[in-house]
């Protein structure tokens, strides 16, 4: 928004400020230079190398070194049709993605709205809620993934903390919820979705830290005057949420949706990614894993494009100028 200002000025007095604009453009290039250079020198070759390698096969040569044999699309074919697990893992991984994204976005929006309200101990709650952002990543995530101990201790407390599928320790059993909703004539799938969401709460909480931060930032940027005028007009909290907060925060929902997709498909706990990593180590750095991950990447890019396309049609942008 603020960028347009100097441009307007220079359009008025074009002759006088042209050199300043040029100088500023040069300064801009200077600032982004480290990124541009290393992007061109390191990143682009790496990407091309990775794509190129997925069409080759590595053959170790006796006495050190290796040989590259071009095989065309054979790696892709093998990944899709020969490997017994890849297609299945891909499918379940995508299903998981479809489940996780709405759950995480809805949960983080809800929590951000809660944490944005004035109340006793808000700072403490916020501090607790953002612990996973810092602490439950990388190594800790991989330790948790093969953790039998918390599962054991949880059998007393009854929370499934993402470590196993112990049915006995489910917080809410689907049957209970189904009974509850049976009279309300809500679809069975929805009931199952809600029950799954509650049982996966630990996972969802752990993975919605950054999203919560982004939503909180968005909520802070909504001016208090709008809420005040709403209150004066006699709107209830429910109406205020749907008529004011929701539209104003909708760009953030788009950002968070896309961020969640990216985050969950690049994270180490992702099924498909762990599968690909396993293939990488099993075949001793063979290129089958490259082919697999490029295929996965393409599919996820398509999903991102679809989500962004659909959602951006409904996003409300407030005109500031």
């Amino acid at each position: 928004m603020t960028n347009t200002k100097p441009a307007v000025k220079s359009a008025k007095k074009k002759k006088r400020y042209a050199s300043l604009d040029k100088r500023k453009a040069r300064a801009g290039w200077f600032f982004v230079l480290p990124f541009v250079l290393s992007f061109l020198i390191i990143y682009v070759p790496i990407i091309f190398e990775s794509i190129r390698l997925s069409f080759f096969r590595i053959k170790p040569v006796i006495g050190g070194g290796f040989e590259l044999i071009p095989v065309g699309f054979q790696n892709y074919q093998e990944a899709l049709f020969v490997d017994p697990d890849f297609a299945q893992t891909l499918l379940t991984g995508l299903q998981q993605l479809a489940f996780d994204i709405p759950a995480i976005v809805i949960f983080s929006l809800f929590m951000a709205v809660l944490l944005n309200q004035k109340m006793v101990g808000r700072a403490a709650f916020r501090a607790i809620f953002f612990i996973p952002v810092i602490l439950s990543t990388g190594l800790i995530e991989s330790i948790d993934a093969q953790n039998t101990m918390t599962e054991y201790m949880d059998s007393a407390s009854g929370i499934n903390d993402g470590s196993g599928e112990s049915v006995a320790s489910d917080l809410v059993s689907a049957i209970d919820v189904e009974r509850l909703f049976a009279n309300m004539k809500v679809g069975k799938d929805l009931v199952k979705y809600v029950a799954d969401m509650i049982n996966n709460i630990y996972n969802i909480v752990n993975r919605s830290g950054v999203q919560m931060l982004i939503f909180l930032a968005g909520l802070q940027s909504i001016s208090a005057a709008i809420y005040e005028s709403c209150q004066i007009d006699g709107a209830s909290a429910w109406e205020t949420f749907w008529k004011i907060t929701f539209p104003m925060i909708s760009p953030m929902i788009l950002v968070n949706g896309i961020y969640t997709i990216i985050d969950s498909f690049t994270s180490e706990s992702n099924q498909v990614m762990t599968f690909i990593a396993k293939v990488y180590t099993q075949t001793d750095g063979n290129v089958l894993s490259s082919a697999m991950s490029w295929m996965y990447f393409l599919i996820v890019m398509l999903i991102i494009a679809a989500v962004a396309g659909v959602m951006s049609a409904y996003v409300f942008y407030q005109r500031r100028d």
Binding site: F31, I140, Q220
Partner: protein
């Protein structure tokens, strides 16, 4: 309301030169309490308050409980894991697990190495990302949009995809073929350097090179966050600095950077702790056992290896203790830094 109407007008008396005393009849306490507490408005608020509190405490519990269980497990002796009566409070309190991790696995080596690595990359990343984000946010130049798209691209492509070629790049490191040319790889007679490529693996250099270029772990996200923040900084600040004769770089360092310290601390916290717990780059670039890093200490210490009924549980407790010891410095850092984390994010005012 009625009670107020019945009141007499307050009387004002002058006590001394600068002091007055106002006397009025207060509504009785009972009436006041009644008006305050027995109303639908209050009831609504109260119910919401309880609901919110229960929900927040419940979810806080979900977040914190694994930590508690890990902490209690770390103090348990092997006997406790087969004892059914032991849940969270250890019966045979012991520090053996910690001692074994520190002595057998070389915790302090890993700590110092990881600390140096994380600190250097996090400092470089914070500064470089600020630079790039500032350039993207405040300067209009041809290709601005393309550069930003490139940043987003680095964020989207999962590093798992690039694993093999990343390794190759730094195993046979070469800048645009210069080393190969000078080392006699292209023309035999031109042999200035004794090598044609450099093996950068098992050093800090791959990560530092990536950080300098803003290509490090999650740097796309930092650049995005900082860009949003810098876009919210009013242009007038820089304009006045320019008028006073300051150059762009000086303006950036003397005016913009001091302004954005909370945001920089946020990015630094992220960069430091994500690098600290990272196991992708560290296992990729550090292939030998020479430099012990944090991922290397997640294993079962030799002195604790046993063979009994509760073995699996015990080993998983040991691994969890390793995890606890890994994140312990981060917890301390978080306690000091979380204020800035939330402040910085709130000020960034990210808007789609």
């Amino acid at each position: 309301m009625d009670a107020q109407n019945m009141q007499k007008a307050p009387t004002v008396m002058k006590e001394s030169k600068n002091k007055i005393r106002v006397e009025f009849e207060r509504t009785p306490l009972k009436e006041r309490l009644k008006a305050k507490f027995i109303s639908t408005f209050f009831l609504q608020k109260f119910v919401w308050f309880i609901f919110r509190l229960v929900l927040l405490i419940g979810i806080s519990y979900v977040i914190l409980f694994p930590f508690f269980s890990k902490i209690s497990g770390s103090f348990m002796a092997p006997e406790d894991f087969v004892d059914v009566t032991v849940r969270l409070i250890p019966k045979h309190f012991t520090l053996d697990t910690y001692k074994a991790i520190v002595n057998d696995l070389g915790y302090w080596d890993a700590f110092i190495n990881t600390f140096l690595l994380s600190l250097s990359t996090a400092l470089i990343q914070t500064f470089v990302c600020c630079l790039i984000a500032y350039g993207l946010a405040k300067f209009k130049f041809k290709g601005n949009g393309i550069v930003f798209l490139a940043v987003i691209l680095t964020m989207i492509v999962p590093h798992e995809t690039l694993r093999l070629s990343l390794f190759m790049e730094f195993r046979y490191f070469d800048i645009l073929g210069i080393f190969k040319l000078l080392g006699g790889g292209v023309i035999e007679s031109l042999n200035v350097l004794p090598f044609t490529d450099i093996n950068l693996t098992n050093t800090f250099w791959p990560l530092i090179v990536l950080s300098i270029g803003g290509l490090g772990f999650k740097n796309g996200l930092y650049i995005f966050m900082l860009r949003q923040f810098f876009r919210g900084v009013p242009d007038e600040l820089e304009e006045s600095a320019y008028i006073d004769g300051s150059g762009t770089l000086r303006t950036f360092i003397q005016i913009i950077l001091p302004l954005s310290i909370p945001m920089m601390i946020t990015v630094f916290l992220f960069a430091f702790s994500w690098q600290w717990t990272d196991d992708f780059y560290t296992t990729l670039f550090f292939t030998t056992q020479k430099t012990t890093l944090m991922p290397d200490i997640i294993s079962i210490p030799k002195s604790l290896q046993t063979n009994y009924a509760g073995q699996n549980l015990y080993y998983s407790a040991i691994r969890n203790t390793c995890g606890l010891m890994i994140i312990f410095p981060l917890i301390i850092m978080y306690l000091f830094g979380q204020r800035y984390l939330i402040q910085g994010i709130e000020r960034s005012g990210i808007t789609g």
